[in-house]
């Protein structure tokens, strides 16, 4: 009898959670609705699991840990310029508030509220990018309109009977094989996302809501707070690329690995964005000593590949994301190069950077 009670207690919730959804939606229509869901407000909790297996590189620790582990997030979302995301840890949290005037980052561990003027469009990945709605919209925006969309079996996610769509990426210049998105068929709000890389059976990134309430969030939750006694600091940007991007962009060529440069954002002339699809490459000039630190970090981690270029280059490659640090022979010019691209694109991009900078 005890065994029966035990089995019921374990089995019933598991069965309830695993029962399939019965939502149906036309895949193409669902894809369009997801793309147009940026105005849907919500409050919820999501967990993201990324298995890129990046080694920890000191200068990029935020990114490498984000993409190689589990991230727990609470979110309040009223719109693209009114939102709050808390990244939870066992001993504290780090909250980012997006307001129409800019952003504010509260770090409990450091007891510091940082008021951020502006981050560039092209920036390093951060936790809230892994929230299902943000990840789905951002990645789907990089797919081609004629990439085929097929229906996936419905899933129940955080109480939502969600219809699924798989967009298979045809572009051979990216490592992304397919994007699986489950969304509320009524509103188009994405509730779960899986990112699949070519040649890997399991999704590299999977994120899903655990709790979700649709509708405008409580406005008081969206007001940045500073703990009593905590410090406040102002920063023009909260992103490494935001700092580097203010530099001199004259060493960036117009074309990189066959991809044309997108006109740079105002005030960030040194952010090189090449292409607008998932296969885009990002190149940013680095100070020489910082490049040396990064190359050292990648080499020490033991997972890097040395590029065969007229200079020095180390690449960190995963089935999904690749990143390289390239330095000219004299050490005067250096760049970081990254993208969801295959190794060949990284090699040819590195060669173009070294050649372009010379001209």
């Amino acid at each position: 009898m005890v065994a029966v009670v035990g089995a019921l207690l374990v089995g019933v919730p598991a069965l309830l959670a695993a029962r399939p959804g019965d939502a149906q939606a036309d895949p193409q229509e669902l894809r369009d609705r997801i793309a147009a869901s940026a105005g849907i407000g919500w409050t919820g909790y999501a967990e993201a699991r990324a298995t890129l297996g990046l080694p920890r590189i000191a200068a990029l620790a935020d990114v490498t840990t984000l993409l190689s582990g589990v991230t727990r997030m609470r979110g309040w979302y009223a719109g693209p310029d009114r939102a709050r995301t808390d990244v939870l840890s066992a001993v504290g949290e780090r909250d980012r508030y997006v307001t129409p005037r800019g952003q504010a980052v509260w770090d409990y561990g450091a007891e510091l509220l940082t008021i951020v003027a502006r981050d560039p469009e092209v920036r390093l990945p951060r936790s809230e990018d892994l929230l299902p709605p943000d990840l789905a919209r951002r990645l789907l925006a990089g797919t081609a309109p004629d990439d085929p969309a097929t229906a996936l079996p419905a899933r129940r996610v955080a109480g939502v009977d969600a219809a699924g769509v798989r967009v298979t990426v045809a572009d051979p210049e990216t490592t992304v094989d397919a994007l699986d998105v489950w969304a509320d068929p009524a509103t188009g709000l994405p509730v779960a996302v899986e990112v699949r890389a070519r040649g890997v059976a399991e999704p590299m990134i999977s994120t899903a809501f655990g709790d979700l309430e649709q509708g405008p969030p409580d406005p008081t939750a969206l007001e940045p707070r500073r703990g009593p006694g905590a410090g406040v600091t102002r920063s023009p940007t909260s992103d490494l690329f935001g700092v580097l991007g203010r530099g001199d962009g004259s060493t960036l060529p117009a074309v990189l690995a066959g991809r044309e440069r997108v006109p740079p954002e105002r005030r960030f002339p040194a952010l090189g964005q090449y292409g607008r699809t998932l296969g885009q490459l990002i190149a940013v000039p680095l100070p020489a000593d910082f490049a040396g630190t990064l190359i050292g970090g990648i080499d020490r981690a033991g997972a890097g590949r040395t590029l065969t270029v007229d200079g020095q280059g180390s690449a960190l490659e995963t089935p999904l994301l690749s990143l390289a640090v390239v330095r000219s022979e004299d050490g005067a010019r250096a760049w970081v190069l990254a993208g969801l691209v295959p190794p060949a694109a990284l090699d040819s991009g590195a060669a173009d950077l070294l050649a372009g900078g010379r001209q």
């Binding site: 009898m1 808390d86 939870l88 001993v91 504290g92 007891e111 655990g210 703990g227 006694g229």
Partner: protein, 338 residues
């Protein structure tokens, strides 16, 4: 019968030794923190240990974080493991059951006694650590912090940290105790503000002291709010210990050795802890007894994050129901020979 069990529990020296040791650990940590003022780096170490340097009223939370992973479960496992097996090994169980005592009622009384033990233990830890915290770190009142500092430390940048918030009276406070470094750094902000603003600043300081503790989300917590959250966290920790108690009590009905039951329960906990930290075991983690132990921290987020807390309560309830049923089935049908 519950009264008998409670008297028995209270009469045992080991109960009080266990509770005393539980209270001692946070006190020792507090003394070290107060003398060195070296707190763990942000994001590392036990929860709230950095924050208590600013306000001792948060120290009960830090103390819970210190005793929760090992000390408290060990104490609970010792008491619960001894509940039935102890009687059995001493040879008193036989005589106990000869009296018109129903076995189910006996088991229920044992469980109640264990719950009372856990409640008393958690209350004692919180109570003593509040006293220790406030006397060593101050209750978040900047004046008290500055006063307390020179007694235990040379007071360097920590005083400067409290300075901008409490730059009102420290000139007199610092002078009063006459700590060498602290009196200087304490006097510094006082000199900035000047005497004319002292009255208004005094009022402001009191207001600030009223809400000088921050939630994890940066929201200022008033004393009532903080007390409510602490009570919630303590209640949750008590419930978290019920799973351990149920495992140990069940094993206690299986074996005649209380040591065996205690160690068995601890082995189960260690296994659970190992599996919780293992990504590969994620399919079973929601069912492990220690999975939601740390969720009490969520009481200090803003708004309070109830998801894991609720899951934790259900999980512990499940363990108690299943294991108490198993204990009951085992105990009521058992041949008691000793």
């Amino acid at each position: 019968m519950i009264r008998v069990e409670l008297i028995k529990l209270a009469g045992r020296p080991r109960t009080w030794v266990a509770i005393g040791l539980l209270c001692l650990l946070p006190a020792v940590v507090a003394v070290f923190l107060a003398t060195t003022r070296i707190s763990p780096p942000p994001g590392q170490g036990a929860a709230f240990l950095s924050a208590v340097l600013q306000s001792g009223s948060l120290y009960p939370a830090a103390a819970l974080a210190l005793v929760l992973p090992i000390f408290l479960p060990v104490a609970v496992a010792v008491v619960a493991g001894d509940a039935v097996a102890g009687e059995s090994s001493q040879g008193t169980l036989r005589y106990l059951l000869v009296r018109p005592v129903r076995r189910t009622a006996l088991l229920g009384a044992k469980l109640v006694a264990i719950v009372v033990f856990v409640v008393v233990a958690v209350l004692s830890v919180a109570g003593t650590s509040y006293v220790v915290g406030v006397s060593l770190f101050g209750a978040g009142d900047p004046v008290a912090v500055v006063r307390a500092l020179p007694e235990v430390t040379g007071g360097d940048d920590a005083v400067a940290g409290a300075g901008p918030a409490g730059g009102q009276q420290p000139a007199s406070a610092g002078g009063q105790v006459g700590g060498s470094d602290a009196s200087q750094s304490g006097a510094q902000p006082g000199a900035d503000t000047g005497d004319s603003t002292a009255v208004a600043d005094d009022q402001a300081a009191r207001e600030r002291a009223q809400s000088s503790v921050s939630s994890l989300s940066g929201e200022a917590l008033g004393p009532a709010d903080l007390a409510a959250r602490l009570l919630g966290a303590m209640g949750y920790v008590v419930v978290s210990m019920l799973g351990v108690a149920a495992i140990a009590l069940f094993l206690s009905t299986v074996t005649a050795s209380s040591l065996g039951a205690t160690l068995g329960a601890l082995a189960a906990l260690i296994t659970s802890q190992v599996l919780v930290s293992l990504d590969a075991a994620s399919s079973v983690t929601p069912y492990l007894p220690t999975r939601y132990w740390l969720a009490w921290v969520d009481f200090f987020r803003d708004p309070i994050f109830l998801r894991d807390i609720t899951s934790g309560l259900w999980l512990q309830a499940g363990y108690v129901v299943v294991l108490m049923l198993a204990a009951w089935a085992n105990f009521t049908t058992k041949d008691v020979t000793s």
